[in-house]
C-alpha cells in the first residue's frame, strides 16, 4: 500500500515537472500570433559546407528571435556556381532566393540581378598553385626560381616533360583549372594570369595585349580536357581521372578540403601567385520592392541579424575548419587544415605583391569570348 502511494507521488511529481517545463518552453517561444519569417539562401559550392553548419547553428540560436518572431534560414541543399547564376539567368522575379552568398563581389556585380550586397565579405580564400613535388622541383629548378605563372608557362610552352628537360617525369605537361566559361573560379584563373603577366591589380582591355595572348595560349593547350574538369580542380585531382594532372591552379579552400586525400596519393607542393585574386564571399540580398512596410522592415531586420551573426568572432572562428580564412584573424597552427597545409607550402599569412581590385563585366565578357575561341584552336 505504501509502495502504491509512493508511485502515485512520483507520477504526480513527474507530471508537475512536465507541466512546469512546458510552461517554461511556452514562455520562451516566439509570439504564436506572429508569422515565422523564412529566408531562403543559396550559396557558392565553396561555402556550402560552412554555411550548412552555420545555418543549423543560427536556426537554433537566440539570435534568430527578433521582436517576438523567429527567423529561419532555409539553405538550398544544392549550391550553385556564380557563373551559372550570371550566365544561365538562373533566377526570376518569381523564383529566386532571398539571400545569395557568392564567391566574389565581382560575380554579384556581373549577374545584374536586383541584388544588394549586405556584407562585402564574410570569409576569404586566395588562388593557389598545386603541383606534384617532383614537378614543382623541376619547374623551379629545385627552388631556384619561384613557383609562379612564369615558371608554369615555361613548362606549358615546352609541351612535354622531355622537351622541358625534366628527367623522371613522363608524358605531356598537364595543367588543370576550372572551365572559365562555366565557373567563376575558372574566370578568376584568367584574371590571375592577366594580373601576374601585367603585374597589375586593375584589369581592362589594355591588359589583353598580343604578347599576353601568345604567352597564355600554351597554358590553355596544356589542359587535356577542360570540359570535364568541373568546378573543383582538387576533387578532380584526387579522382581517378586526375592522376595525370601535374599542376593545378584553384581556390585555396578547395585545395585544403581535399588536402588529406591529395597528399595520400602523392607528394605535393603549393605556392601563391604573386598578384592575388581573392574570393571574398559577399552576402547579397534580393531586393523585394512590393512588400508591405512592416513586412519589409521585418525582412531587413532578419537579414541584418543573420549577417551580423555570421560576423561574430565566434562564428568567424569556425571558418578555418572549412578551409576558409576569417576576415580579421589569420589561421593558426591550431587550425587543422591550415596546419596540414603548412607542411606543403600553405601560409598562415600569405603576402602578395598586389591584389586584384577591379575588372568590369564588359571586360569579363571579352576575356571569356577570347578564351572560348582560343581553346577551340
Amino acid at each position: 500500500m505504501r509502495q502504491i502511494g509512493t508511485g502515485i507521488v512520483i507520477v504526480f511529481v513527474l507530471i508537475s515537472l512536465g507541466i512546469v517545463g512546458l510552461g517554461y518552453l511556452q514562455r520562451n517561444q516566439p509570439d504564436p500570433t506572429a508569422t515565422p519569417l523564412e529566408l531562403t539562401l543559396t550559396v557558392n559550392p565553396m561555402a556550402q559546407a560552412w554555411m550548412n553548419d552555420a545555418v543549423m547553428s543560427f536556426n537554433t540560436s537566440d539570435n534568430r528571435l527578433i521582436d517576438g518572431y523567429a527567423v529561419t534560414i532555409v539553405l538550398n541543399t544544392v549550391p550553385i556556381d556564380d557563373m551559372a547564376v550570371w550566365k544561365n539567368s538562373a533566377w526570376t522575379d518569381q523564383n529566386h532566393p532571398d539571400l545569395w552568398l557568392a564567391s566574389t563581389s565581382l560575380a554579384v556585380d556581373y549577374a545584374g540581378y536586383p541584388v544588394r550586397i549586405i556584407t562585402p565579405s564574410l570569409a576569404q580564400s586566395p588562388m593557389i598553385w598545386v603541383a606534384s613535388a617532383d614537378v614543382a622541383q623541376a619547374i623551379t629548378q629545385d627552388g631556384i626560381s619561384p613557383f609562379d605563372w612564369q615558371t608554369v608557362q615555361a613548362a606549358a610552352q615546352a609541351g612535354t616533360w622531355a622537351n622541358f628537360g625534366a628527367t623522371g617525369i613522363n608524358g605531356n605537361v598537364n595543367i588543370a583549372f576550372a572551365l572559365p566559361e562555366g565557373t567563376m573560379n575558372g574566370l578568376m584563373v584568367l584574371y590571375s594570369a592577366l594580373a601576374n603577366f601585367n603585374q597589375t591589380t586593375t584589369l581592362g582591355n589594355s591588359a589583353m595585349t598580343p604578347a599576353y595572348q601568345t604567352w597564355f595560349t600554351p597554358i590553355i593547350q596544356s589542359v587535356p580536357n577542360l570540359n570535364t574538369i568541373g568546378d573543383n580542380v582538387a576533387t578532380f585531382m584526387v579522382s581517378q581521372r586526375g592522376s595525370s594532372v601535374n599542376i593545378g591552379i584553384l581556390p585555396e579552400v578547395q585545395l585544403l578540403n581535399q588536402l588529406e586525400a591529395l597528399t595520400t596519393r602523392r607528394a605535393i607542393q603549393v605556392a601563391y601567385p604573386a598578384y592575388s585574386v581573392l574570393f571574398d564571399f559577399p552576402l547579397a540580398e534580393w531586393q523585394v520592392t512590393n512588400l508591405p512596410e512592416q513586412e519589409a522592415n521585418r525582412r531587413q531586420q532578419a537579414i541584418q541579424a543573420f549577417s551580423e551573426w555570421l560576423l561574430l568572432p565566434a562564428q568567424q572562428a569556425q571558418l578555418p575548419r572549412y578551409g576558409l580564412r576569417p576576415l580579421s584573424e589569420n589561421p593558426t597552427e591550431s587550425d587543422d587544415l591550415f596546419r596540414l597545409g603548412a607542411d606543403v607550402g600553405v601560409e598562415y599569412t600569405p603576402i602578395f605583391a598586389g591584389q586584384l581590385e577591379s575588372a568590369s563585366v564588359s571586360f569579363a565578357n571579352i576575356l571569356l569570348a577570347w578564351f572560348a575561341q582560343e581553346r577551340q584552336r
Binding site: I15, V74, T77, V78, A90, G186, G230, Q376
Partner: protein, 602 residues
C-alpha cells in the same frame, strides 16, 4: 488547482498519444515504400517538380533503382539529400528516366532546337551520355550552349579499353619482349603492336600461338551512335597521326584531313571482323572466345561485366583490359542539364538536386558494384576493381586530349571512308513453306529494311534458292544496284524445293573466287527449313568450303538466320561453327529487327 492539474494531465496525455500516433505513421509508410521493387513506378506527388533524364544504355544497370529510391523518398515527404522531412514550401521532385544511345539522343536534342518537326526529337531535362564528347557536339551543332560543360558533373567513370584475351596479350608481350630484349612486364602495348600481328606473315602463329589465325579479329560499334566507338575512332586517329609525324597535343582538322593519317586509320580498321550498333551485342560476341574475336573496344565496366560471368555465354578464358600505350579516354557519364526553353529554372534546380543525389556515397557504391569507378572521390575503389577481374586500377597512364568539337565531328564524318567496307550476299530461302504464316512477305519487308540500313559504299548481291539456286542481282555497289535489289526482293514468290546446301556452297565458293582483302566478306543466309535437294552437295561439303576460307587473310563470315519454327537449326549451327559465328533466330514478328541489327555489322 487540482482540477487544473488533472485537466492539464489529460491534455498532456492526449498530446503524447497523438505524437506517438504521428511517429507510427511515417514508419509504416516507410515500410510500404521500401518494399517497392526497383522497376515499379512510384506515385508522383501532386505538387512535384517533374524532370526527365535520358541516359546511356549502360547506366540501366544502376539508374532505374536510383530513380526509384529518389522518387520514393520524396513520396514519403523526405528530402533524399538530407534525409530530413521536406521544409515548409519545399516541393518534392519526381524523376522519369529511360535509356537511349548517346549519339541518337544528342541528335534528337539538337533537332528539338533546329528542326522540331523531325521524327527524332528529344526534350529531356538531363542528358547523361557516356562521355562529354556528345555534350560538346550538341553545343557545336546547335550553335549555342545547350549545356554548361563545367556544370555537367561526372557521375560514373570508365576508361575505354581493349578487351583482349589474356593468352593473346601474353603472346604479344612475350614476342615483343624477345624481339626488343625487354622484360615482358615492361613491354607497353598499343595499336602499334596490334598492327604488328596483322602485318606478320603468319599472324598469331608468329606470336607463339599454335594453329593461330593468320589475321586478327577486332570489333567496335558505330561512332555515330556509340560513345565507345567514337572514343575509339578518335584514338585511332591519334595513333595514326603520331605514326605520320604528328607531335602536337590535340588533333586538329589538319591531321584528320591528312590522306596518310586516314590511310593509317583504314589500316587499323582492316582488323575489323564486323561492326555492330550496340556494345551490348559485342559483349556477347567476344564472350564466345578467341575464335570469334581477338579484342574489342569496350568501356572497362563492360569488361568487368563479362569477367564477372554476367554474359549469356561464359568466356572460355580470361579477358583482360589493354589500356593502349598511345592513350585512351575516360568516359565520365556526365549529367548535362539542358539550357533550353523546355527546362524551367525550377526544373534545372531540381536536376541539380538529383545530380547531387547520384553522387552521394550510397548511390556511388551501387554504381561501383556495376563495374564503374565512382565519380565521388570519397568512395574508395573496392570490389569488383581487383586484378583478378582483368583490370588495372593504376591505368590508364596516358589520357588523350579531347579535340575541339569540329574536329570530333570531322572524325565522325570520316567514318564513311575509313571504315572497312563489306561485300554481302543476301541469300533467301523461297521454298514453298515460306508461303505459310506470311513468312515470305515479312522476310521481304525485312530484306528491304536490311538494304536501307546499309552504307552505300558496301557491295551487295542477292540470291534465292528453292529447287535451284538463282542469282537475282550480281554483287555490286549498293549505290548503283539498290533499285534492282528492291525490285527483285518485292517480286519474290514461293517455289518448290529447298536446295539449302547447294545454295550455300555456290555462294561461298563464288565469294571465295573474288577475294578482296580490304573488305568484310559476308553471307547472310535466311532459311526456314531442311535441305530437300538432290544431295549432290552435302553438309560436309558446305562445312569444308567454309572452313577452307577460315585460313584466308580475309575469311568469309556466314551468318545463318533460322527463320520460323521449322528451320533446321542443327544444320545451320554446323555451318555457323565452321565460320566462327552463331545462328541467329527469327520469326515473322521479329525478322525485320533482326536483319536491321545484322545490317549494323557492316
Amino acid at each position: 488547482m487540482h482540477r487544473l492539474l488533472v485537466i492539464r494531465f489529460f491534455i498532456l496525455s492526449i498530446l503524447l498519444l497523438g505524437l506517438v500516433g504521428c511517429d507510427d505513421q511515417p514508419s509504416s509508410q516507410s515500410t510500404v515504400f521500401e518494399a517497392v521493387p526497383a522497376t515499379m513506378a512510384v506515385e508522383r506527388p501532386a505538387n512535384a517538380i517533374e524532370i526527365s533524364i535520358i541516359y546511356a544504355p549502360e547506366s540501366d544497370l544502376y539508374l532505374p533503382q536510383t530513380i526509384t529510391d529518389f522518387n520514393s523518398a520524396y513520396a514519403r515527404g523526405i528530402n533524399p539529400l538530407t534525409n530530413q522531412p521536406l521544409a515548409s514550401g519545399e516541393r518534392p521532385i519526381y524523376v522519369v528516366g529511360r535509356s537511349g544511345s548517346s549519339g541518337t539522343v544528342m541528335e534528337g536534342i539538337v533537332n528539338a532546337i533546329l528542326s522540331p518537326n523531325n521524327q527524332n526529337v528529344e526534350r529531356p531535362t538531363i542528358f547523361a551520355p557516356s562521355v562529354s564528347h556528345w555534350l560538346a557536339l550538341a553545343n557545336y551543332f546547335a550553335g549555342r550552349d545547350l549545356f554548361n560543360l563545367a556544370e555537367a558533373r561526372p557521375t560514373a567513370l570508365a576508361p575505354v579499353v581493349m578487351a583482349i584475351w589474356k593468352s593473346r596479350l601474353d603472346a604479344i608481350r612475350n614476342t615483343v619482349a624477345t624481339r626488343t630484349g625487354q622484360n615482358p612486364e615492361d613491354v607497353q602495348i598499343g595499336w602499334e603492336e596490334l598492327l604488328q600481328v596483322l602485318n606478320s606473315p603468319n599472324g598469331w602463329q608468329d606470336f607463339g600461338i599454335p594453329n593461330g589465325r593468320r589475321t586478327v579479329y577486332y570489333g567496335h560499334t558505330d561512332p555515330y551512335i556509340s560513345s565507345t566507338a567514337l572514343s575509339t575512332l578518335i584514338a585511332e586517329f591519334y595513333a595514326s597521326a603520331r605514326v605520320n609525324g604528328f607531335t602536337g597535343r590535340r588533333l586538329t582538322l589538319t591531321e584528320v584531313n591528312d590522306a596518310n593519317v586516314q590511310q593509317g586509320v583504314r589500316n587499323i580498321e582492316q582488323l575489323i571482323r564486323h561492326y555492330s550498333r550496340r556494345t551490348t551485342e559485342f559483349k556477347e560476341y567476344i564472350a564466345q572466345g578467341p575464335d570469334y574475336l581477338d579484342f574489342v573496344a569496350l568501356e572497362e565496366n563492360d569488361l568487368l561485366f563479362i569477367n564477372m560471368g554476367l554474359t549469356e555465354t561464359r568466356p572460355p578464358e580470361q579477358l583482360v583490359a589493354l589500356y593502349p600505350k598511345e592513350g585512351t579516354f575516360w568516359h565520365e557519364h556526365p549529367f548535362g542539364i539542358l539550357n533550353a526553353s523546355w527546362v524551367t529554372s525550377e526544373q534545372a534546380e531540381a536536376a541539380r538536386v538529383f545530380t547531387e543525389y547520384v553522387l552521394t556515397p550510397a548511390v556511388q557504391e551501387r554504381v561501383m558494384s556495376q563495374g564503374f569507378r565512382p565519380a565521388n572521390p570519397d568512395v574508395p575503389l573496392a570490389y569488383p576493381f581487383v586484378a583478378e577481374n582483368g583490370i588495372d586500377i593504376n591505368q590508364p597512364a596516358t589520357v588523350l586530349d579531347v579535340p575541339a568539337p569540329e574536329v570530333v565531328s570531322a572524325i565522325q564524318q570520316s567514318w564513311a571512308f575509313v571504315k572497312k567496307q563489306a561485300d554481302i550476299w543476301l541469300v533467301i530461302d523461297v521454298s514453298g513453306s515460306m508461303a505459310n504464316e506470311n513468312k515470305l512477305e515479312q522476310a521481304k519487308t525485312a530484306a528491304l529494311a536490311f538494304i536501307e540500313g546499309l552504307e552505300t559504299n558496301n557491295r551487295v548481291g542477292l540470291a534465292v534458292f528453292s529447287e535451284q539456286v538463282d542469282i537475282l542481282v550480281e554483287m555490286g555497289d549498293l549505290e548503283r544496284n539498290a533499285s534492282a535489289l528492291r525490285t527483285q526482293i518485292q517480286a519474290l514468290q514461293p517455289l518448290a524445293g529447298t536446295e539449302l546446301f547447294k545454295a550455300t556452297q555456290t555462294i561461298v565458293s563464288l565469294m571465295n573466287t573474288s577475294d578482296d582483302a580490304d573488305r568484310i566478306r559476308a553471307v547472310i543466309l535466311l532459311s526456314d527449313g531442311e535441305d530437300t535437294g538432290d544431295r549432290t552437295v552435302t553438309l560436309n561439303d558446305v562445312v569444308n568450303t567454309i572452313t577452307a576460307s577460315r585460313d584466308a587473310m580475309n575469311p568469309i563470315i556466314l551468318i545463318p538466320v533460322a527463320y520460323g519454327t521449322a528451320a533446321d537449326v542443327t544444320t545451320l549451327s554446323r555451318m555457323a561453327r565452321a565460320s566462327n559465328t552463331r545462328v541467329q533466330s527469327g520469326d515473322p514478328n521479329d525478322i525485320q529487327a533482326l536483319l536491321e541489327l545484322i545490317s549494323s555489322y557492316f
